[in-house]
């Protein structure tokens, strides 16, 4: 009986694939529900971790054990997210039927949904599927009422600190930004470390992520609720940007942070040059793994990011991480859905969390005691306040560029916070209003 149902589903899938409808098309039959048991699909995914065994192949092997007749080909994607995105855009808009499933950034749903580069998953999967994830994740993958991405693993900003240095100077783990700033400057003045606090200040997407955390802690937002106007040039915006600037001018952070991306900040911390670090989930295992080039193994602690004094603590952490999307031209939608459901299911999520210390998206796995106790990062993750980037607009790429170029200008000292914010604000307004077409 099961096989009969499966073959009926497969027939529907081929019929659907044959019409090669784009994401905005309505001809796709919602009968496909992800219960296919055979077929070959291609999964496009960039490397998830750089050390140890490859989580992608580990998961594929487990999946193929559960569904022996579905074969998954792994196509390794570029590690640089922007290059990854442009490769996908050219491939899919060219009508390619492969890859069938791709791993994409959590900020893509707006742009990809609007351009029809991803199939709307909510047409195939019930509401109950999406409600299993941690609050905000499915909503973050939604554009225009449709969910485009299945939350695969989550990421967020953390504060990493040197336990040994804090103990030596009898300092506490900072819970406010101001405390972090003063401890970082003290540690550099006492020559305990070359740098106090390193983070991602280069002119790129990572700076938008960092800025959002200060902005969120200060109570500010980037876009209004209609997603058609900037709310950035506010008192909260000025508070956030002035504070980031003061980190550099006070000596808590080196001037070099304005050229740092994740790897540079990570290596400054792991080589023992910096006392504090803001980085993603991988920072803990990187700094604490003896096989990595880290010189601070066993001396690293992790905490939620601080908030502003007088505000809520902990502060806000920007949501990062990856979703699984379906190529709208895929000819194996039923098998794609089977794969996605398994990859976002309890077995895969638990493997990602306990074996590779990625933050799981399923609420039940996130809060299970086995996962929380397996890793201090996952324990810290349970306490953070998450904040999304304003990616609900298809013009997010431009909004983010307006933020990071202007914030970077302010950090390098070539602009004051006020003018930098008003310039960012007007660039955001011209991006999200009207057609949004521009340079």
């Amino acid at each position: 009986m099961a096989t009969a149902a499966a073959s009926a589903v497969l027939l529907a899938a081929t019929a659907c694939g044959g019409s090669s409808s784009s994401g905005s098309g309505t001809s796709s039959a919602p009968a496909v529900s992800g219960s296919a048991t055979s077929g070959t699909i291609t999964w496009w995914a960039s490397p998830i971790t750089t050390s140890g065994s490859d989580p992608r192949t580990v998961l594929i092997k487990k999946f193929e054990k559960a569904y022996p007749k579905i074969h998954v080909n792994l196509q390794s994607a570029p590690t640089d997210t922007d290059t990854n995105r442009s490769s996908l855009i050219t491939t899919i808009s060219g009508g390619a039927t492969s890859p069938d499933v791709y791993m994409g950034d959590v900020i893509w749903p707006g742009q990809f949904g609007k351009a029809g580069l991803a199939a709307p998953l909510s047409k195939y999967l019930p509401k109950s599927y999406f409600s299993q994830f941690a609050p905000g994740l499915a909503q973050g993958a939604t554009y225009n009422g449709q969910v485009y991405g299945a939350p695969f693993f989550e990421d967020e900003g953390f504060l990493y600190y040197r336990k040994d240095l804090l103990a030596k100077e009898h300092m506490k783990v900072p819970t406010t930004w101001q405390q972090l700033e003063s401890e970082a400057s003290t540690l550099t003045k006492k020559k305990d470390a070359k740098y106090g606090y390193v983070w991602e200040g280069d002119s790129y997407e990572g700076l938008t992520c960092d800025f959002m955390e200060y902005l969120g802690s200060a109570g500010g937002t980037v876009l209004n609720s209609g997603m058609n106007g900037s709310t950035l040039n506010s008192a909260a915006g000025k508070k956030a940007l002035s504070f980031m600037q003061s980190l550099i001018t006070s000596g808590a952070s080196p001037k070099a942070v304005t050229t740092m991306q994740e790897p540079q900040a990570m290596s400054a911390f792991a080589s023992g040059q910096s006392a504090f670090l803001r980085n993603w989930d991988y920072g803990y295992s990187y700094a604490n793994t003896a096989s990595s080039p880290s010189k601070v193994v066993g001396k690293v602690g992790v905490a939620p990011l601080p908030g502003f004094a007088g505000g809520t603590s902990p502060g806000t952490s920007t949501i990062g991480g990856w979703n699984l999307y379906i190529n709208p031209h895929s000819k194996h939608v039923a098998a794609d859905l089977t794969f996605i459901k398994w990859m976002t299911g309890a077995t895969a999520e638990k493997t990602l969390a306990t074996q590779f210390s990625e933050i799981p998206t399923l609420q039940s796995v996130r809060t299970s005691s086995g996962v929380v106790s397996s890793n201090p990062v996952l324990a810290a993750a349970a306490k953070t306040r998450l904040i999304p980037r304003p990616a609900g607009t298809p013009q997010y790429a431009k909004v983010s560029q307006a933020i990071y170029t202007n914030v970077n200008s302010a950090l390098t000292g070539s602009a004051q916070p006020g003018p930098a914010l008003s310039s960012a604000s007007s660039a955001i307004n011209s991006a999200v209003s009207s057609s949004g077409s521009g340079l």
Partner: protein, 302 residues
Amino acid sequence: MASSSHDAFRRRQARLGWALSAPALTVIAAVTIFPICYAIAMSVSNVSATGSGFSLNGLTGNNYSIMFNAPQWRYALFFTVLYTVVTVAIEVALGTAIALVLERLTWARGWMMALMLIPWSMITVINAQLWGYIYNPTYGVLDDIFSRLGLGAPVILGTKVPAIMALMGADVWKTTPFVVIIVLAGLVMIPRDYYEAAAVDGAGGWTIFWKITFPQLRPTIALAVLFRVLQAFGLFDLPFVLTNGGPGDSTQSLAILAYNAMFRDLDFGPGAAVATSTALLVVIGCLVFLKVFRAQAGTEES
């Protein structure tokens, strides 16, 4: 009569030649001429990118008006022109000087050439990564030198003017050898008699250079400048790797601007307008340069 049969033969030969090269020409047309024409068409159309490809809906001048009104475009144009003029000038002056030295060498010339070809033969992205290590503000060798000299720890790629100079330095390091090779080829073509005659007339080194070597090298240098301008104007990989257009957008070249508009923002119309106008500008620039250069050569000869 003999000549007309000869003509007929040549025509037949020409036809055969075209027929034989037709397959290759078709491939070239498909992979270069079609995309160029398509980009031009995109730049004057309302483009919408969808999951099933691009659709061009009607003619419009909007893409170009967006471009002309964008301060980013004006800055990118200024930056690209400045970058091209400065790097090409330095490379040609330095390359010519090195070629003059190399020409005097005997057995060492081959070795020196081989050494100089290393930077040029390296892929620009790798070259850029290497310079990235040198310029790195936390462990870069250049910052180490600066701090040992007591000049502090500048953040080279994070400060506007030093970032631009750093890109130029990496470019000069990589492409000066290219100019050296072209100029050296021109140098060895100059007949020895000219120099002997000048020496007999009692001309000094500078006089010989300006009266004989340089005028004879003119076409070669023009060629080197043309090649370099074409390449420098399309500046992409160095800033893409080293600065990503930053700090702010101070190293955003026209090519980076077009790439970002097309592949990051999916604004294919305005992006195509930037790409098309960049190509047009560099062609016009080269034609003007050739004209001026030829005109000057003409007046000097007469």
